[in-house]
């Protein structure tokens, strides 16, 4: 025997291991503290202490064996389990997924609307007064102005009239008496411009001005005097950007002058504190007159944009109208341009911490905590703010399992099927496994080959075999194809149940075959021999001696298998997805077992109900646990530890 005490190498090895583990955990712990994940950091600190306590002292020997296992169990099994348990007393579903704090902050963040006119600007994003934190935007507000067209001196003697006898179809017949322009005569309407020649017009003798042309009728004096107020605002089309305006009438003739409409810009700088109208002299403009730089304002470089993108996206800049209006920067400058996009917004939903209410400052509606996980307008109960939060509801989820027929009825069906499924699975798997084991319990020729082939389903990764079965049982799958039939294996309520059982039998019988054949060998042969001497035939021996012995030996495994299949999520989820659904599209389907139903309730439907799903989980847990505990008590597995 080796000398155990004082094995220095073992101690050194241990110390190295422990040191490594401790330093790694220590590093993680500090990082966790650093990012504010205090809960995880504390857990890691406890782990560090536990390891030190377990391996550097001799106070608790069992802990030396348990420490790592316990850590993993707590982190990834117990904590999530407690989380699930606690969810069951919350209204925790689509619409109520967040904590109340997160819900308030999201409502607050989202409580912004564009102003009524959708005012928006292309802006240069930068900073004011040399301080990068003082984010500002330079905006250019376009304005159309009209005025005499510079450099155009032509004036026209114009007759105001109408076309085609329609008095609303205004037109001007104009003559260039001074020969300043290239057009001797033209006819202009608000939307068209037609040059005319001598041949087109009739001239008035005295001044050689055109007075009529085809389709054109001049207004009479009386008509003109009734129109006098409107005439200054009339515009008639001239060349491209220009238009003709009429002056005062002299002897029924107007003086027409060429005008132009122009785009000019007003410039503003908006910072967090002020809205400044900047005179054009202080602006650097691009070719079209849009401002790209201003006094005291510096544009952010690409690198700075990236660095401050968060601040840029969230800044509220002053607008010409006071709060709740502000200017928000919607997008960063488009690559290759100077301009981002900013819009005028209103902070319409505002939170008051003291009274825990939200107010819509535009409509005046007040939203208060309705005790059910939402802020609701007490005057209009249908009007509430989203998202809501997880609200504690005590046992409402549990009572709804019993009281709400829409939940109760499918649940009962699913529950019954779950029991049936687990029970029938164990029975069929065990029966077939046992049959094969008994058949193979003799050295017949080819036993090795039979065995190797028959345990293939057990060796093959089940996820793949389940999916393959799914493909084979499909309406146009191999089974229907080969047998040349059209059986809806997975789409009929009862056939789907049979299919699930069949596939599960395929998956599980080799396991029971292996177990049973092992156990058969463990049964003393003398028992059978002596019975045989007593005149019992092989069948009687099997029924009266072998089977009871076998059952006694295998009960714990049968119970374990039952418990496993009770929660056998993979086969249901991957084979039928729980379907076909009961009566037109309820969440629960004919092959759903409790756990797949729970999964669908929580994850697979549009209206996800974690609260209800976790209440069902708790119920499943209680059932499975008590069944297993009963089974184990009965089989006395735990007796050695009494």
């Amino acid at each position: 025997m080796r000398i155990f005490k004082g094995n220095v190498y073992a101690v050194i090895a241990k110390l190295i291991f422990v040191t490594l583990a401790e330093s790694m955990l220590g590093y993680l712990m500090l990082s966790a503290f650093g990012t504010g994940d205090t809960n995880i950091a504390i857990f890691l600190a406890v782990c560090i202490l536990m390891i030190a306590f377990a391996y550097l002292t001799n106070i608790s020997v069992p802990l030396k064996f348990f420490a790592p296992g316990i850590m993993f169990l707590i982190a990834f099994v117990i904590v999530p389990m407690v989380f699930t348990l606690s969810m069951s007393v919350f209204k925790y579903q689509t619409g109520n997924m967040l904590s109340k704090e997160a819900s308030i902050s999201t409502i607050d963040d989202q409580g912004v609307v564009p102003d009524k006119n959708n005012t928006a600007y292309d802006v240069v994003i930068g900073y004011y007064d040399g301080k990068k934190s003082n984010i500002a935007v330079l905006g250019s507000i376009e304005k159309e102005v009209e005025g005499a067209a510079p450099g155009v001196t032509a004036k026209f003697d114009s007759v105001l009239g109408y076309l085609n006898g329609d008095k609303t179809n205004l037109a001007v017949l104009a003559t260039d008496t001074w020969m300043d322009s290239q057009y001797a005569y033209f006819l202009a309407t608000p939307s068209s411009f037609t040059p005319l020649t001598d041949a087109d017009v009739t001239l008035e003798e005295e001044n050689y001005t055109a007075v009529s042309t085809k389709d054109f009728t001049a207004f009479s004096k009386a008509e003109i005097s009734s129109m006098l107020e409107d005439i200054p605002s009339l515009k008639f089309k001239y060349e491209t950007n220009y238009f003709l305006k009429l002056g005062s009438p002299i002897k029924g003739m107007f003086e027409g002058s060429v005008n132009q409409s122009m785009t000019v810009y007003n410039y503003f700088l908006a910072t967090k504190d002020e809205y400044i109208r900047v005179p054009p002299v202080d602006i650097v403009k691009d070719g079209s007159g849009v401002g790209i730089g201003a006094k005291n304002f510096k544009k952010f470089t690409s690198e700075q944009i990236s660095k401050y993108s968060n601040e840029i996206g969230n800044v509220r800049l002053t607008y010409s109208k006071p709060a709740p209006y502000f200017i928000g920067i919607e997008t960063l400058p488009k690559p290759g341009t100077n301009f981002g996009y900013a819009i005028v917004q209103i902070k319409n939903i505002q939170y008051d911490k003291k009274s825990d209410t939200f107010t819509n400052v535009l409509s005046g509606a007040v939203y208060t905590d309705d005790g059910k996980g939402n802020y609701r307008n007490a005057k209009k109960p249908k009007d509430f703010l989203e998202p809501g939060w997880r609200q504690g509801v005590w046992f409402d989820n549990f009572t709804s399992l019993f009281n709400d027929t829409r939940i109760r009825e499918p649940l009962i069906k699913v529950f019954i099927w779950t029991i049936a499924f687990a029970f029938l699975t164990v029975i069929t798997q065990f029966a077939l496994g046992l049959l094969v084991a008994v058949a193979m319990d003799k050295k017949i020729r080819g036993r090795g080959i039979y065995r190797s082939l028959m345990i293939l389903p057990y060796a093959m990764p089940s996820i793949m075999s389940i999916l393959i079965w799914g493909g084979m049982l499909d309406d146009n799958g191999a089974i229907n194809g080969i047998l040349n039939i059209s059986v809806p294996w997975l789409h009929d309520e009862w056939l789907a149940k049979v299919s699930v059982l069949l596939v599960n039998l395929w998956l599980g019988f080799p396991y029971f075959y292996l177990i049973a054949s092992g156990s058969l060998q463990a049964i003393p042969k003398e028992l059978a021999e002596s019975a045989s001497i007593d005149g019992a035939n092989p069948r009687q021996i099997f029924r009266l001696i072998t089977l009871p012995l076998l059952l006694r030996m295998l009960t714990p495994l049968l119970v374990a298998s039952f418990a496993f299949n009770f929660n056998n999520f993979n086969i249901i989820y991957l084979l039928t997805g729980g379907g076909p659904s009961f009566e037109f599209g309820s969440v629960a389907g004919a092959t759903d077992i409790l756990i797949s139903y729970t999964y669908k309730l929580a994850f697979d439907t549009t209206i996800q109900n974690y609260g209800l799903a976790s209440a069902i989980s708790v119920v499943i847990f209680i059932i499975v646990a008590s069944m297993s505990m009963y089974g184990i008590r009965k089989s006395k597995v735990l007796d050695d530890f009494a």
């Binding site: 073992a10 069992p62 993993f72 169990l73 191999a478 297993s628």
Partner: protein
């Protein structure tokens, strides 16, 4: 022995054996058929192969969008690391539960069993959130990393493995460690120097079984490792037939075949031990 005699004695055994074998290998045969077929479906209408092409296999190794070898590597790495570590960690606990005397042992065992029975699908959300936080301070161990998934699996497999191995440990005779105790060995020393060498075959079996089990995990892996290059083979292959619009059974079958063969070979080679291992826990009950 005449043939007739032999038949009467053994014929039913052969019939059971034959039927069982057909039942067991029928789907597997179809997989092989589909994997060599040019038809992208499992619609075969006969047992006779209609075509024999290797397209499905070459696709797995040449299509840049199907990093099959990476998937295999990921699965092997994850399942390998977890099964080894979980047996390493779990065996110690199993040993302690089996051999040491301490307060709260029965409660501990019962608690372990109960925890095992908790329907854990819903814990998904909690685990996701935890690992997401871990990602923030330790990006190499959090969500989306193989390391992170290994941690989660380790936690999940702890209970089963401890429970399973306890059964095995119970079946190892007590005399040896009694002797060691007499020699003044500490519990740790007994564990490392007596128990571990003795239990090595059984530990290997548990490792293998847990490897296969992990190979099958799908729900967590799908959510944890969304990126194409980091997927496990189960998730990657499921993509062929679980996609929105198409079911490519050919490459799926080929991939399944390639993924299963190594496992089946190991399983067959260690058959004897596995059967021993499976029954050891039960027979003693």
């Amino acid at each position: 022995m005449t043939f007739f005699h032999w038949f009467r004695q053994n014929s039913w055994r052969h019939i059971v054996g034959l039927l069982g074998t057909v039942f067991a290998i029928f789907p597997l045969y179809l997989v092989v058929l589909a994997s060599f077929s040019s038809d992208q479906s499992l619609q075969s209408t006969s047992f006779v192969p209609s075509s024999f092409v290797l397209d499905n296999f070459t696709m797995l190794f040449t299509d840049p969008k199907i990093p099959f070898l990476l998937w295999m590597k990921n699965s092997a790495l994850i399942a390998g690391a977890v099964s080894l570590l979980s047996v390493f960690i779990g065996a110690a606990s199993a040993f302690a539960f089996s051999r040491l005397r301490f307060k709260g042992k029965r409660t501990g065992l019962q608690a372990l069993l109960l925890v095992q029975m908790f329907p854990s699908v819903l814990a998904l959300s909690a685990i996701y959130v935890i690992m997401e936080r871990v990602f923030v301070f330790a990006p190499q161990w959090g969500l989306g990393t193989l390391g992170g998934l290994v941690l989660v699996y380790l936690g999940g497999s702890m209970g089963v493995n401890i429970w399973l191995m306890k059964g095995f440990v119970d079946s190892i005779p007590l005399e040896l460690d009694e002797a060691a105790k007499v020699d003044g060995a500490s519990a740790m020393q007994t564990y490392w120097q007596i128990f571990v060498p003795l239990a090595m075959p059984i530990l290997s079996v548990v490792t293998l079984l847990s490897f296969i089990g992990l190979f099958n995990e799908f729900i967590l892996a799908r959510m944890f490792l969304p990126e194409n290059e980091s997927r496990t083979v189960a998730v990657g292959l499921q993509g062929f037939i679980g996609g929105q619009y198409n079911a490519n059974w050919g490459p799926f079958a080929a991939g399944s075949l390639l993924a299963s063969v190594p496992i089946i070979i190991v399983f067959m080679t260690l058959q004897r031990y596995i059967i021993g291992g499976l029954t050891a826990g039960s027979v003693k009950g």
